[in-house]
Amino acid sequence: MVLEASHVTKTVTSPEGPLTILADVSLAVRRQETLAIVGASGAGKSTLLALLAGLDLPTSGRVSIAGIDLSRLDEDGRAAVRGAHVGFVFQSFHLIPALTALENVMLPLELHARRDARSAALEALGQVGLEPRIAHYPRQLSGGEQQRVAIARAFVARPAVLFADEPTGNLDTHTGERISDLLFDLNREHGSTLVLVTHDRALARRCGRLFELDAGHAVAAAPMQAQ
């Protein structure tokens, strides 16, 4: 199992008292599997994603990535695990506005002091079809182009697990479809594991497995047809 969550609960304090966002959720994802986390707004999808990626800590329960138990690590330790094994694609792209497309893609490699950052980033941008636009800043790119840069950035460090949070949420249907094609194609090519959170049932159906949440509880984990 490349990703494992067991009996994960997340409780936060609110003005009305403690509020349980996730209640005793368990989940295991195999290497190269594709998984869609679905559910209504407020069901706890993004919270689960944050816990699985080690961005946040569960109130109780355990999460491990590539066999490493995240609850045993401090913040820097979890950051190191993310840097080594995890990639992200976000709904609002999260590109750094002051960096060019190329620089944005080079960023995760530079964080690991990779000497080949530039050539690897150029190759990744080539894979998403953006070579002509490498020197453009995010504001000079369309939404679809920005998300393609974000996808190149996510794959450039060859992560074991790729987390995508509503990757097509900010795009029109047509662009959204092209982006999800790209995402799945690259995922297959790189042999990585994809965990995506989405409202979009069509997008969810492209995943090998569906994990549905309802008010913080796992509803069912139905296997879908293989990719």
Binding site: S46, D56, E75, A79, G83, L107, D165
Partner: protein, 829 residues
Amino acid sequence: MQRLRFALRNLWRDLKSGELAVLLLALTVAVASLTAVGFFTSRIAQGVRAQAAEVLAADLRLESAHPVNPAYDIEAHRLGLRAAGVESFPTAIFNGELSQLAALIAVTPGYPLRGHVKIADTPFGAARTTERIPQPGEVWADARIMAQLKLALGAKLKIGAAQLRLAEVLDYRPDQGTGFVNLAPAALINVADLPATQLIQPGSRVTYAALFAGAPAAVAEMREYLIAHKQAGERLREVDESSRQLNSAIDRASRFLSLASLASVLLAAVAVAMGARRYVSRHIDTVALLKCMGASQGFVLSMSLIELLLLALAAVAAGALLGDLAQRGIAWLLKGLIRSELPPASLEPLPIALVTVLAMLIGFALPALLQLRSTPPVRVLRKTAEAPALRYGLAYVLALGALFAILWSLVRDTELVLSVLAGALGMGVVLTLAGYALVRLTGRLRGGVGVAWRYGLANVSRRGGASVVQIVAFGLGLMMLLLLAVVRGDLLADWHRSLPVDAPNNFLVNIRPEERAPLERFLASHGLGKPAMYPMVRARITAINGVPAERLHLKGDTARGYLEREQNLTWSERLMDDNQLIAGSWWTAQELGRPFVSVSSEYQEALGLKLGDALTFDIAGETLTARVSSIRKVRWDSFRPNFFLVFPPQLLDGAAGTYMTSLYLTPEQRPQLVDLVREFPTVSVFDVDAILKQIRDIMDRASLAVQYVFLFTLAAGIVVLLAAVQSTRDERRYESAMLRTLGASRGTVLKGVAAEFAALGFLSGTLAAFGASAIGWVLAHRLFSLHYELDPWVWGVGLVCGTLLVGVAGTLATRRVVNTPPIVTLRDD
């Protein structure tokens, strides 16, 4: 290496986007102000001190009753100092049957080493400076001698066994003294003529003085040498103790300067804190993203630290450059004032500036950076996730510690720093509370006004905390501007008023009781007014609390001097105008004649006296013991007769002394002194016009210097305003986009923004006027001992300028935000 590269790239893009402008400006202003003030307090103070050195006619002056050891001159020569000698003693000068007691001053070539001798062509006539000393065979005599002996220039004068030709009227010697001890009129001769007079015999009361002057370092070395080698009976006189009046003026000038630099540093610190908050809010998303990609906390912290350090270096370079320009400007401005050589500009302020900037960053930016470091990575998914606040109020501890260190290193006066800090903190709390109250009040006012105003006022109260921060920041900035524009002018004017144009420039001393009435009639009939007459009795202190003076162990030349020399006592029914009681109470009508004494604070400090101590005096052979009943702070720079020791009337009535008085004479009235001296030959006239001029000169130049330094404070105030405007730009950007998307016109949104800033400006103006008045009052009373009246202009200017300045500046700064097409804003978000 990789962190440095990241930091460099961050710095470059932050600079490009203008994000660091406020921080860079704040640091630059702080550095420029520090280097400029460093220049003032060291170089200019040295210049001013050199001016004060005129009173000694030298930088160092060693006085002795015996010929001065020639080894001192050899040492001075070795150190590259200039040297001169003065021998003086009282003697009678004759013109036929007429005679006059005079102070004979024999000088060597080179005298005076500091300052200039002034001579005139007629007695009490217009004077001019000269670089010469009397030729052998010549004498230059005081106008009073000429009046008394009925002499004209060219006459032959008999001094001892020598016949000398009267060549010039001696008007002024820099070292003629500002006390009332050198009473006799002076005659200046060349030291070469001294043997011919045959006046120096065993037992003669000759005072020998060795004068030295030169570069500050050599003077300091000579001073050490003299302290180590001087014999008993040799007294070293230095600039610091030479003149209370001058010192008082210099002290005030440096307080003004320190205050100006403290104000700029405080303001710059506020701007740095705001700039750092802005830095954090602009970088928090990037940090969250970097952490998402695996960046550690250490990486994040060191990256931002390196970036800020690079920024600090840039600020030090830019600030030092500005500071250097300011130095040149100042040197140019003060060209005429400083006659002595200014020490060359050094790199010394640079490390100080660098350390200060680092301290500012540690105190005011590091807390924000430490918080930035712990940005939760989950912020990439949930915008509301904020970094936790620092524990144990670390931010406040750091800020206060840094502030104290910076301020203390600037002024080295713990009490001043603590009171400024306490004042600033108190002001901060008061401003914050008042800000909250005003914001709440504004929230209730928003009904019944147009839509733009309603939106603007609603924003003020809705933003609550942010509005208070802005009001406090705007308020602080405006307060400084008000202090500069109005209060500073008032303070400086008050200072100038403390030495009015008609401040007494002549003292009449040694008036015998029976001469008092005729002299008053003389003054009245010559149109010279009716000045107050002060009785004077000379006395020596013999014991304190029963312990004989010779058995008292006192530290310092000053204290010993007070004990060894005769003091002038006076009595007065009421407290003199320039005196302020700081302890004890003044005698009542019932207490007249009781054995009380009121002492000045200098005297009290030097001798370590407290209320109730018994002082025993020897007054012409009679013993008198009196208890210290009050301590007075004396304004020595008022130039009215003032005394260390004042007794109640009726106590000293038996010890008939003399009277003294002071009056102001215009240049046209001065020749009347000839008649006065003839009619009252024993009355000594003492002219302090020259020293008055010196002090006025120092005041004028110091005012100029202070205004110059306050320019930096002004700049710091403006930077704070900028920081406050910038702090809410993002929020405004988003709101304006939303409003415009909802159909509001650009004009309506802009009017709303203008209304909000105008309201903020009005509120800050109110606070600023209040603060500036309070601070002005405290400064005047506590720091400068000046009388200060509240100026209604502060309120007018505060409210109008606050509303206009903040309203216009805020609207202009936000205009671009409002003009951004909503789609661009909303897409970016």
